[in-house]
């Protein structure tokens, strides 16, 4: 594990690089506004599609519109936060290909922090905002029997979910050391993952639900904890305590992703050109 000094150093580097990119983005203000709106709209249209579906049906997989919106909002917010903070990692493949990763290796700052802040895109706030708005809509239209435990679970869920998605981003980047051109595979798990979680688990085949519970534990981002909050039957008949597992799962995922990242970085051989 990294010692505290190194983490602080990484965070400092991250902050400095992110601020630099924000200033650089502001050089083209019109483009910034448009890309932020586009970022918001891109995800908003996802939800419009769900609204259109519900204009023709009353329930999807037994879930009503506010319930689906609840799942959607949680998944969207958690993924949006991960995408904002660490989403730039998906560009690693390009840096490996063209050899610009070498530049980052000689700088006196952790490579992970440099890459995560690389081309930091404030416009991704658009996605977070959209997720939060849908979550807000869901919370006002759902009649949830709130308990202190359920209230506590809400922020825990969003933070753990963001951490789980961040781990997926880091693991995806580690994979790109090997895969290079095949970086798009990552999209299946990041963007694909958040799309999957927007719909109720009852919609999908058992094998798929098993896969995202036990192999790639995305189900802990929202499906399991949300099931508890909504008081619905658990997917795969899992025990109730699994709803409270997200923080543990997130820590586990981050540890594994960190290990994968270090392995990947050690295996890096420059293009040599």
């Amino acid at each position: 594990m990294a010692e505290p000094g190194r983490v602080a150093e990484g965070l400092r580097a991250y902050r400095m690089i992110a601020v630099m990119w924000i200033r650089s983005t502001m050089a083209y203000r019109a483009s910034f506004v448009m890309t932020t709106v586009a970022n918001f709209a891109a995800t908003a249209l996802d939800f419009v599609a769900i609204l259109l579906m519900f204009s023709r049906v009353d329930a999807l997989g037994g879930y009503t519109l506010p319930e689906v919106a609840f799942l959607y909002g949680l998944s969207g917010t958690a993924f949006g936060l991960a995408d904002l903070t660490i989403g730039s990692m998906e560009r690693l493949g390009r840096r490996v290909r063209d050899g610009t990763l070498d530049t980052l290796l000689v700088r006196p700052a952790p490579v992970l922090a440099q890459l995560a802040a690389d081309r930091f895109a404030l416009r991704r706030l658009g996605r977070v905002t959209q997720g939060a708005l849908v979550l807000g809509y869901a919370l006002t239209s759902l009649d949830i029997a709130w308990t202190p435990l359920k209230l506590l679970l809400m922020p825990v869920m969003v933070v753990s979910g963001a951490a789980i998605f961040s781990a997926v981003f880091v693991a995806g980047a580690a994979f790109q050391f090997v895969a290079q051109d095949a970086s798009e595979v990552q999209n299946a798990f990041t963007y694909g993952g958040t799309t999957l979680l927007q719909y109720p688990p009852t919609v999908f085949a058992k094998e798929l639900v098993r896969g995202v519970t036990f192999v790639l534990p995305l189900a802990f981002v929202n499906w399991l904890p949300a099931t508890y909050v909504l008081g619905r039957p658990y997917p795969l008949d899992l025990p109730v305590w699994t709803a409270f597992a997200p923080p543990l799962v997130a820590v586990g995922c981050c540890a594994l992703a960190g290990a994968a990242w270090r392995t990947g970085l050690r295996s890096y051989r420059s293009t040599g050109s």
């Binding site: 483009s31 579906m53 049906v57 051109d181 970086s183 719909y199």
Partner: protein, 266 residues
């Protein structure tokens, strides 16, 4: 070299260029298959709730999903066509080199995009579609005529798709950084082409509007032909009209834009 041969060479060059990146193609096939899987289950749930929604039965809805995944990168509905490169060339000024080539700018990039689209269709599109057809109940036509008509509809969709994206790329002559316009365009395209939900499921006036827009030529039109839901000639006429209109507009904008170009020395 005859003009026809020149553009054929550009197209085959683009085809081979995309064919070079085998790992990227395999990754694309994988990703399209995963997205197809996610969508197919949501559609199955939707059609379970309401059979014959939008006039499709369940098998037709499933076919529609896999067709969408097959055509997504072919028609560059979510971006990834030649417009990225063209915009970058306009921004950096390399476009000046393209302009003094003894070839037409629009036809040059159209050929390049057709070459790209053809490769994406064969390399990236066919496999997810076959996967879907093997593992899920699909509704495919049994007569060669429908398949041929479907291919014509896909070709016309390629022209319409390029027509839209060429206009998007030319906006960089005025904006320099065309990222915002490009993103807005692909989001609109994603939604209005029926990638998220078939356009015939859209209710009332929204439905009628999106079905009349050029984007419905991209996915909905070939799907209608393949699923035998529309008379091919009518679909061709609709797509052809949009292709002509967009390409003509592109030509007009191109002539205005190129008059703006100032080649700087150095």
């Amino acid at each position: 070299m005859g003009a026809g041969r020149l553009y054929a060479a550009v197209a085959s060059g683009a085809f081979r260029r995309y064919a070079t990146y085998r790992a990227a193609t395999a990754a694309g096939v994988f990703t399209n298959t995963v997205f197809g899987l996610i969508l197919v289950y949501t559609y199955l749930a939707l059609w379970d709730e309401k059979p014959h929604l939008g006039g499709y039965d369940q098998a037709q809805a499933v076919t529609y999903v896999w067709l969408g995944q097959a055509l997504l990168s072919t028609l560059a509905i979510g971006g990834g066509g030649v417009e990225d490169e063209l915009m970058e060339r306009i921004r950096t000024g390399d476009i000046a080199i393209d302009l003094y080539r003894p070839a037409d700018l629009q036809l040059w990039w159209l050929s390049a995009d057709l070459g790209r689209a053809l490769f994406q269709l064969m390399g990236r599109g066919v496999l997810p579609f076959v996967f879907g057809a093997v593992f899920f109940p699909v509704a495919l036509p049994s007569d060669a005529g429908t398949w041929a008509a479907f291919l014509v509809a896909v070709l016309l969709a390629m022209l319409v798709g390029f027509g839209i994206r060429f206009l998007v790329a030319l906006s960089a002559f005025w904006l320099l950084d065309g990222t915002g316009v490009a993103q807005t365009a692909w989001i609109t395209g994603f939604f209005c082409s029926g990638m998220v939900l078939p356009l015939n499921v859209f209710p009332g006036a929204i439905g009628e509007t999106v079905r009349a827009l050029p984007w419905s030529s991209l996915l909905q039109a070939p799907a209608d032909v393949l699923l035998g839901r529309a008379e091919p000639w009518g679909v061709f006429a609709f797509q052809g009209a949009w292709a002509l209109a967009l390409l003509a507009l592109g030509r007009l904008v191109q002539s205005v834009a190129t008059r703006r170009v100032v080649v700087q020395g150095g």
